[in-house]
């Protein structure tokens, strides 16, 4: 069936920080660009970011992009690509300054410059002592940034398609990407967005776990679409568990709390991080802190009746600091933990937070995949930025504040790459005759299903499986049985059924289509994790306790077809700086 079609120079899927930084670049260049989003732009999950944006402005004391680069590489447990990391850290200050010029309401110092707070894993002089590098707007940095970017896009007259859900990527026989199919949620109509360049900025998929700091809409749609179109997913075994999610609720308490001087206590009131990370203590990188907390709980030193959580103490900061720098945290703690942090500590546990892996790209935001003997061959017409992309700047463990930086730097860079590509490739290539058929088959299958599985139940089973089999600590038997289990869940997901057949704003249909994407991500994660026989960054295996640079200093590539794995080397060669050779990591 031929679908109705709209034509654009470029289509961007996602209106979070990455998508809107990219769209700004294109709209200001006068190109015809469509930005699709499942939600009104300011409802994207970037809005929830709290702590800050990492950039070596040096407003609070000496700092340099090279130190930032070192911290990021060390934080990544040496899995990050050093060219991309150099690009990130060098461009970061400019990206933040630009955002300030757009109107971002940053907190200020006495001299009127942007205030910066300390954050985990960020240091002065190659690990000597914590540095203040995180540029913030109280503990609402993401909100302030997302609204600022939206506002700037309003000024640039960017064309948004709000509450449109992209369904599938369109590629022609040569593999070139020619746009997406997308469903207008209000009417249920499916359209083809025919574009010369397509950019994914669809965010993370943290909803594969039961306990997650992520929004409901973080369902990895970009990853699912890419995987179904034959593009591999990179490093999917690496998921960041944030040390401080509110126990039971999952809602995040920013690392900025520890940046401002808060710390963690076990049931004996011991500040245990001093044992695990003598220099950086509570500001060691996240994988280290989360493992320390999980160890404390495992060894019976957890707090509470069930000894199942850790306490985050900040009352000693005083009402003034809490009200000025952490007002949102106080609100969250009162609402979701029933404690007022001005008086009592907040119960926290490590909680799934961020996906380090994603659609493989280079530092221009171009999607790359192995072809003709080159593992990094550009897929023409296809770009990705933000949490859905893997550049890879975060490697095996992301440093706090580096994601917002990533959105700004790679949002802009990918926008620039699209502009270049459009100049060199005028005119639309013809759509394949069957463009759109695949999406229509998926929808027809869903609408016609009888005696099928409940979307809610299959989703719950997926989340339980991930939580139990692929958490902070990973065990060989659990990984193996996890792979079997998640494949069984994936089979069930092929037979999901919805009772609601309405055309109008059918959220049951949306959730079923989202589940298809989550499942791809969950399978990729477990299969990749089971295969990686070492411990690195956020991937911690009981049977291979050490990092193994001889065999595993390489990126995983998972293909949907047959759940096949491939690997490619880590780029240890920066753009201009000297290589940071892998070393033992201590904080």
């Amino acid at each position: 069936m031929a679908l109705p079609t709209r034509k654009f120079d470029a289509v961007i899927v996602g209106a979070g920080g990455a998508g809107m930084r990219a769209s700004l670049q294109l709209a200001e260049a006068g190109l015809k660009v469509a930005v699709l989003s499942k939600v009104f732009p300011t409802r994207s999950h970037t809005v929830a970011a709290q702590g800050g944006i990492g950039a070596a402005l040096g407003n609070m004391g000496e700092d340099s992009w090279l130190w930032h680069m070192y911290d990021t590489i060390k934080g990544s447990d040496y899995l990050g690509d050093q060219d991309a990391i150099e690009f990130l850290c060098r461009m970061a200050p400019q990206a933040v300054i630009e955002l300030e010029h757009f109107g971002m309401p940053f907190d200020r110092n006495e001299d009127g410059t942007v205030y910066q707070r300390p954050f985990g894993g960020h240091s002065q002089n190659f690990g000597e002592r914590p540095v203040q590098r995180s540029c913030c707007a109280a503990d609402r940095t993401g909100h302030a940034m997302l609204h600022t970017l939206y506002q700037r896009n309003v000024r640039a007259n960017t064309l948004f398609f709000v509450e449109w859900m992209a369904l599938d990527l369109i590629r022609d026989a040569s593999g070139q990407v020619l746009g997406v199919t997308a469903m207008e949620m209000e009417t249920g109509e499916v359209w083809i967005f025919h574009a010369r360049a397509t950019l994914f900025a669809t965010g993370g998929a943290g909803r594969i776990y039961s306990a997650s700091t992520n929004a409901f809409i973080n369902t990895g749609d970009g990853l699912g679409m890419a995987a179904r179109a034959g593009i591999p997913l990179e490093d999917m075994e690496f998921w960041q568990f944030h040390p401080t999610g509110v126990a039971g609720a999952g809602v995040l308490i920013t690392e900025g709390v520890r940046g401002e001087g808060g710390y963690l206590l076990n049931k004996d009131g011991e500040r245990f991080m001093e044992r695990y990370a003598p220099t950086m203590k509570d500001l060691a990188s996240r994988d280290v802190v989360s493992r320390a907390m999980a160890t404390e709980i495992k060894e019976g030193r957890g707090a509470g009746k069930e000894a199942d959580h850790i306490l985050l103490k900040l009352d000693h900061l005083g009402l003034d600091v809490i009200e000025k720098r952490l007002p949102g945290i106080r609100e969250i703690a009162k609402k979701f933990a029933n404690v007022d942090p001005v008086k009592d500590p907040i119960p926290v546990v490590p909680t799934c937070h961020y996906q380090m892996g994603g659609v493989p790209t280079n530092y221009h935001g171009e999607v790359v995949a192995p072809a003709n003997g080159n593992p990094n061959t550009v897929v023409p017409g296809f770009y990705a930025a933000g949490e859905c992309a893997c550049a890879s700047v975060h490697g095996a463990n992301r440093l706090g504040t580096n994601s917002l930086t990533d959105l700004l730097v790679f949002g802009r860079a990918s926008g620039e790459s699209v502009i270049r590509f459009l100049k060199e490739n005028p005119g639309h290539k013809d759509l394949p005759v069957d463009a759109g058929d695949y999406s229509m088959q998926r929808i027809a299958r869903l609408d016609g299903q009888t005696g099928g599985e409940s979307v809610f139940e299959v989703g719950a089973e997926m989340r339980r499986t991930m939580q139990a089999h692929c958490g902070v600590f990973r065990f060989p038997d659990m990984l193996q049985s996890g792979v079997q289990k998640i494949k069984a869940v994936a089979e069930r997901a092929k037979r999901t059924e919805i009772k609601d057949k309405s055309k109008t704003f059918n959220t049951a249909r949306v959730e079923a289509l989202e589940l298809d994407n989550l499942i791809e991500v969950a399978v990729a994660t477990l299969v990749s994790a089971d295969a990686r026989q070492e411990s690195r960054g956020a991937h911690d295996r009981a049977d291979f306790a050490k990092r193994d640079d001889v065999n595993w200093l390489k990126h995983t590539l998972w293909y949907r077809d047959g759940s096949r794995l491939d690997y490619k080397p880590v780029n240890l060669k920066p753009m201009t700086a000297q290589t940071f050779e892998p070393k033992v990591r201590s904080y």
């Binding site: 009104f40 300011t42 109107g103 309401p105 200020r108 209000e186 409901f216 039971g248 949102g328 109008t504």
Partner: protein, 231 residues
């Protein structure tokens, strides 16, 4: 727990109606949104918007026992049964609890919600003192949930002409920003019997704002500035 929920699907319902639900909750269901997700797991046709589940994205504003609020930060324990849920008042209903927010966003866009400054920016950040920055507190935190505007009688009667509390709060956010140079254009634009002056300080907006913001105060400050520039 008992709920009465406004239901309307234009595909099949001639008229909106209220549907009763009696649902067994789990101990982990603490907020109204948890209960709605639970209801949706048994009746997948119930339609609502939601995303962040922590009160920052502004998706799940609705009328809860007669008062506008966000489902995700409304505690179930504080609600009287049966909990009556309706879409935000005054906006066209698309389906169930989902309203058409176009008019609301149109008003927001009408105030030119972006920093206007035509100077070539410096190489570094523009400087702003801490006191100047504090002027933006209580203004920039708006999540565009529309709880305020849809509880404002002036907005109900003139949604096409009155900017409404959320839009006016945003207008003042830029007026108050030392980096914005368009104060007089902004005031000109609002100097109109409807755009600003339909506000009669009824304060419904302040009562319902889930972020504790005070649009009435911002509106008052805009009015002060207008008076001041006339004299």
């Amino acid at each position: 727990m008992k709920f009465r929920i406004y239901r309307y699907d234009p595909d099949k319902d001639a008229q909106p109606y209220m549907k009763d639900y009696d649902i067994a909750l789990e101990p982990t269901d603490r907020m109204l949104l948890d209960a709605l997700v639970r209801i949706k797991s048994v009746d997948d046709s119930l339609s609502l918007r939601r995303s962040c589940r922590e009160g920052v994205c502004g998706s799940d504003a609705m009328n809860i026992n007669g008062r506008n609020g966000l489902a995700c930060i409304t505690r179930l324990a504080d609600l009287k049964e049966p909990v009556e849920l309706r879409p935000l008042p005054g906006l066209p209903v698309i389906r169930d609890l989902i309203v058409d927010m176009s008019q609301f966003f149109k008003q927001y866009h009408s105030i030119k919600p972006y920093l206007r400054n035509n100077e070539v920016p410096p190489d570094k950040e523009r400087l702003q003192s801490q006191a100047e920055r504090e002027e933006l507190d209580g203004l920039y935190e708006c999540i565009l949930c529309a709880c305020c505007s849809t509880s404002c009688p002036s907005f109900w009667w003139n949604p096409d002409k009155f900017v409404g509390p959320a839009g006016l709060l945003a207008a003042y956010r830029f007026i108050a920003d030392t980096r914005d140079q368009a104060t007089s254009e902004r005031l000109d634009d609002l100097e109109d019997p409807y755009r600003l002056f339909r506000c009669h300080s009824i304060m419904n907006c302040v009562d319902v704002c889930p972020k504790g913001l005070n649009p009435t105060r911002a509106i008052g400050k805009i009015k002060d500035l207008m008076v001041r520039r006339m004299t």
